[in-house]
């Protein structure tokens, strides 16, 4: 069905058919004309189908969508959803009473407005203690809720944050980022590395556990008490 060069992609999905209209430059009328032609070639295949429409970034106005909906209904197809990155199209879909997502509402993730400054800081969250022998490698930031025990190791391209006791080995900024930091509620690692720098914990049995942050300053790794 798919793969023709008329800019229309037809795919079976769980909820019925997904029609993707890719040719952004074509006139809406031209495109819908081609679509009805495709449908008319195999009327039996399409009849009774529930159809979702993906129009990409194309702004579609209400009268345009209404006319397409009517064309589809005439051929026995039910349009139930329109997916688009265009606000105009989404407003249109809501106006006509169509869904704007293929995922049922209760399964949707809450959409959060992301501050542009936070974009591009991917990473992983580990919600349990890393025991000896476990190794975590990630190009982004690594956050652990739990301890990092002796014999466990974290290698991160970015920062490493341990909400617990850090007693294993950690390498932050492993791709060379000297601005990377390592934070822990109790920082007593076997070994710390940031970019190309290495340090070990000072022997001090009398120390009190306290949150600390390690970073590179003046050519060496320095750990400072967290007070902010």
């Amino acid at each position: 069905m798919a793969g023709s060069d008329d800019g229309i992609l037809i795919k079976g999905i769980k909820e019925g058919l997904l029609l993707t209209l890719r040719a952004d430059t074509d006139e809406w009328m031209t495109l819908t004309g081609r679509l009805t032609t495709r449908i008319d070639q195999q009327p039996a295949f399409f009849r009774g189908a529930r159809v979702a429409l993906d129009v990409g970034g194309r702004p579609v106005r209400p009268h345009e969508m209404e006319s397409l909906k009517a064309l589809l209904e005439k051929r026995g197809l039910t349009l139930w959803a329109v997916v688009s990155s265009s606000d105009t199209t989404n407003a249109t879909a809501q106006h006509i009473g169509l869904e704007t997502s293929l995922v049922p509402e209760h399964e949707q993730m809450e959409t959060v407005e992301v501050d542009p400054e936070e974009v591009g800081t991917p990473g992983i969250l580990i919600d349990h203690t890393l025991r000896g022998g476990r190794v975590i490698r990630n190009h982004g930031n690594v956050t652990v809720i739990g301890d990092v025990n002796p014999g466990a190791e974290i290698v991160a391209g970015g920062d490493v944050i341990v909400w617990g006791k850090l007693r294993g080995r950690v390498h932050a900024g492993a791709n060379g980022d000297e601005s990377a930091v390592i934070c822990a509620l109790d920082l007593m690692p076997t070994q710390l590395r940031i970019a190309g720098y290495i340090s070990i914990s000072p022997e001090d049995k009398r120390r009190k556990p306290r949150p600390e942050m390690a970073s590179v300053r003046g050519g060496r790794i320095i750990a400072e008490v967290w007070k902010e």
Binding site: H128, R131, G132, G133, N149, P150, G151
Partner: protein
């Protein structure tokens, strides 16, 4: 009636798994429990030695698996306790002679006739360990208050936690020397529990009686024996107060707190 299957493991060798298994099985038997103990350390068997039944071995675990005998025929009855049996390991084979699935099957067959099935795991994290935990309902981790034993226990706990079945685990800290802890020459119980973060079920003092008793197949006397008896009673659901190994110091009252209210210290 169906048995609880408890595997005794440690990661590191030489921390006292076999001694613990032998003593716990004898202690449970002395509480009139029906107990069968399986030595899963194929190729390096010695639970039979420690339990004093070596001379009476005819068939072993591998014979059962390879269908050269019935399960009952490989069970050696202990002379001291009428309801205590041992299924010995084979001495001439290695860990690959038995599969985890076969261990599960053996345990399934034994379950209806016993109250406790104890499995003595070999050291290490490979096949032998996986065999030993395959059929387990719960796991006892044996460790010593020293850095390398704790490190290996941590690894084993991590492997069990990462397994499909979330097996409950409890900790036995073996061979503690209170005076060495006091002098700071040995990890304290608090240090060990802090790192491993699983609940202890008992602390066993280092006791010369352990070595002397090691090959008589009897439950130990002395404070180590008492500690093992207490662990057995705790396994059996009793609340047993903690041994005061220390005479007067507050060390063991602090341990009592680590055990939490219900375990009773």
């Amino acid at each position: 009636m169906t048995a609880r299957v408890i595997t005794i493991t440690s990661g590191k060798g030489g921390v006292g798994k076999t001694t613990t298994t032998a003593n716990l099985s004898a202690a449970l038997a002395s509480l009139n429990k029906r107990v069968v103990t399986i030595d899963a350390d194929i190729g390096l068997r010695n639970l039979d030695l420690v339990m004093g039944v070596e001379s009476r071995i005819v068939f072993d675990l591998v014979d059962v698996v390879e269908k050269r005998c019935k399960l009952r025929q490989a069970m050696i009855k202990h002379k001291g306790y009428p309801e205590l049996y041992l299924i010995p390991a084979a001495q001439t084979r290695d860990k690959t002679a038995v599969s985890p699935a076969q261990m599960v099957e053996i345990v399934r067959e034994l379950r209806p006739d016993f109250d406790f099935i104890l499995i003595d795991s070999p050291a290490g994290i490979e096949r032998g360990f996986r065999n030993a935990v395959a059929g387990a309902d719960e796991v006892l981790i044996v460790t010593n208050p020293e850095v390398s034993a704790v490190r290996d226990a941590d690894r084993i706990i991590g492997l069990i936690e990462a397994g499909e079945r979330k097996l409950p685990m409890r900790l036995i800290i073996n061979r503690i020397k209170p005076d060495m802890v006091r002098r700071g020459e040995m990890l304290s119980i608090e240090d060990v529990v802090d790192i491993l973060s699983i609940k202890p079920i008992g602390v066993v003092p280092d006791d010369e009686g352990v070595l002397i008793g090691s090959n008589r197949g009897e439950l130990l006397n002395g404070r180590a024996g008492e500690a093992f008896r207490n662990i057995a009673r705790r396994l059996n659901g009793e609340e047993v107060p903690f041994l005061n190994l220390d005479g007067s110091s507050g060390l063991f009252s602090r341990i009592a707190r680590l055990f939490g209210g219900s375990a009773g210290g």
